[in-house]
């Protein structure tokens, strides 16, 4: 046991259906523009001229896969380090939470986090982010996103145990390099995914924030 709660995400199983996103949005009643969990569709490849007849083209290494991303409840949470108001703190179970009694809404954590986890709520003037459904977990239930996943691509558990079970990969494209904040994440890669920083593809649905 590492006393660090963590998410496991199976990129090889995820279908990109975004049920996790919808369940999260519903459970926490998030306004438009605030999505504590986001699903990014990452892909690459292209078309090349057909060597037999250059008037036609052939698909060349075209691939696409989805990555579901929420707060990584990092072991080294840069958001908490930089927060001037001491509003972001790491709890005993490893979860990283925002205290709305202290948050001044300066959005500095937004600049620090490479996962886009802290998000500004225009209505309250404060920062919000994934709270790991601590209320549900206290009742012995799973976070909403985990139970909503039809592909069983999400799990929650102790970081060490998840690593023993699934390996220790924590950074595939389009996730940032893990050395910045040490995310509490275990990923099972997609067969087409490259390690972070080595991908040649791009995010193909960059408008997910408008949901």
């Amino acid at each position: 046991m590492s006393n660090q709660l963590a998410f496991y995400f199976d990129a090889s199983a995820c279908s990109g259906c975004k049920a996790c996103m919808a369940a999260c949005k519903d459970r926490s009643d998030l306004p438009v523009g605030v999505n504590w969990r986001k699903v990014f569709q990452y892909g690459g490849g292209g078309w090349v001229p057909d060597p037999l007849d250059p008037r036609y083209t052939l698909p060349n290494n075209i691939y696409s896969y989805a990555v579901s991303v929420a707060c990584m409840h990092c072991e080294n949470p840069l958001c908490a380090d930089v927060c001037p108001a001491s509003a972001i703190t790491k709890q005993a179970d490893g979860t990283v939470l925002i205290n709305t009694d202290l948050c001044i809404g300066c959005r500095y954590c937004e600049w620090a986090c490479p996962y886009g986890a802290p998000q500004f709520n225009e209505g309250t003037g404060q920062m919000t982010k994934c709270d790991f459904c601590v209320d549900l977990q206290a009742q012995g239930l799973n976070p909403a996103c985990v139970d909503a996943c039809v592909m069983r691509a999400l799990e929650v558990g102790d970081l060490d145990e998840l690593r023993q079970e699934h390996g220790s990969i924590d950074a595939i494209e389009p996730l940032p390099l893990a050395n910045i904040t040490k995310p509490a994440l275990v990923v099972k890669p997609h067969r087409h995914s490259s390690p972070s920083g080595q991908g040649a593809g791009r995010i193909n649905d960059p408008f997910a924030e408008e949901v």
Partner: protein, 308 residues
């Protein structure tokens, strides 16, 4: 851009201008004391000191508009152990308090000259620390457009460039006031004004030279680092902000470079005080616009790594 972002631009530019003006005024006062004695030096600079404090106050007021939840603002100084933003706010408050104390001592001639000088030195050092803390806020490992040499260099150049030209304007305005109130002392004051203005002009030309060298190197550096986020920031200087980027450089060049040279010439020859005043105002206005545009670009072209 929304009010919140403009608040950051206003605060950071005004705070840096205040620090720069305080430092430059210190040098001016020192030089003027040696040249014409303390009484004339005080007459030159005391009103300017008050203007600096008002500028800083306006800047700090603007910073509050950046917050989404102003009611919790007092908690913003609690995390000084790890947050440069907390440190910056603390240092900013200390600078403001010291500035007010020093201005009051100087205005009412409280305490000995030596004790006022000690307070002035401490205030100056805290001011430098304030600008340093502002640079550190942006040196985040997740922000390649900020986390490099250009942030400290450009922040300190802005500090000194705006500071010196603001002092130029303030001294010209102060001279007009002194001349009207007390024509007897105008000759010494005029001599001092021209002497100080020449050095301000030299400083402006040198500082804008540094700026015009560093900014292209900075953009080239962003391209050379090759990271997607840095590249995205560099591209934004071309599209959509090529006009702002170009104007920012041109206005700084005209304001500090061209006007700076004219300012020096006008300040060298007696009898051209009126033209010298216009040049000082023009240089300051152009450079202020250029620096605000530069700070706008600083925030607008920021692109973080990962999924921001």
């Amino acid at each position: 851009m929304e009010l919140r972002e403009w608040a950051l631009i206003a605060y950071s530019v005004l705070a840096q201008m205040s620090v720069g003006a305080f430092l430059i005024l210190g040098v001016v006062h020192f030089a003027a004391t040696r040249k014409a004695g303390m009484e004339e030096a005080d007459r030159l600079s005391d009103r300017v000191l008050v203007a600096i404090i008002i500028t800083l106050g306006l800047g700090m007021l603007a910073s509050l508009f950046h917050l989404g939840s102003v009611a919790n603002a007092p908690s913003a100084v609690t995390n000084f152990a790890t947050s440069w933003l907390s440190r910056e706010i603390l240092i900013g408050v200390v600078f403001a308090v010291l500035g007010i104390v020093f201005s009051a001592m100087q205005w009412f001639k409280l305490g000995s000259f030596a004790s006022r000088r000690v307070i002035a030195w401490i205030t100056a050092v805290v001011g430098i620390a304030l600008v340093y803390s502002m640079t550190q806020i942006y040196m985040l490992p997740t922000q390649p457009a900020w986390n490099n040499f250009a942030t400290p260099i450009t922040f300190f150049v802005t500090t000194l460039l705006l500071g010196s030209l603001a002092i130029g304007v303030a001294l010209v305005a102060n001279y007009a006031y002194v001349q009207k109130k007390n024509p007897d002392c105008a000759d010494v004051q005029c001599e001092l004004l021209r002497y100080v203005t020449r050095w301000i002009a030299v400083a402006a030309v040198v500082l804008v030279g540094i700026e015009l060298v560093v900014i292209p190197i900075y953009v080239a550096y962003l391209v050379a680092t090759g990271s997607a986020a840095a590249m995205a920031s560099a591209k934004m200087m071309v599209d959509p902000y090529s006009l702002v980027f170009t104007l920012r450089l041109v206005l700084a060049f005209i304001g500090a470079g061209v006007f700076g040279v004219f300012l020096y010439q006008n300040a060298t020859n007696p009898g051209q005080e009126k033209m010298m005043g216009y040049m000082a105002y023009g240089a300051f206005a152009l450079v202020l616009i250029a620096e605000v545009m530069g700070r706008f670009l600083f925030y607008a072209t920021q692109r973080g790594v990962g999924l921001m």
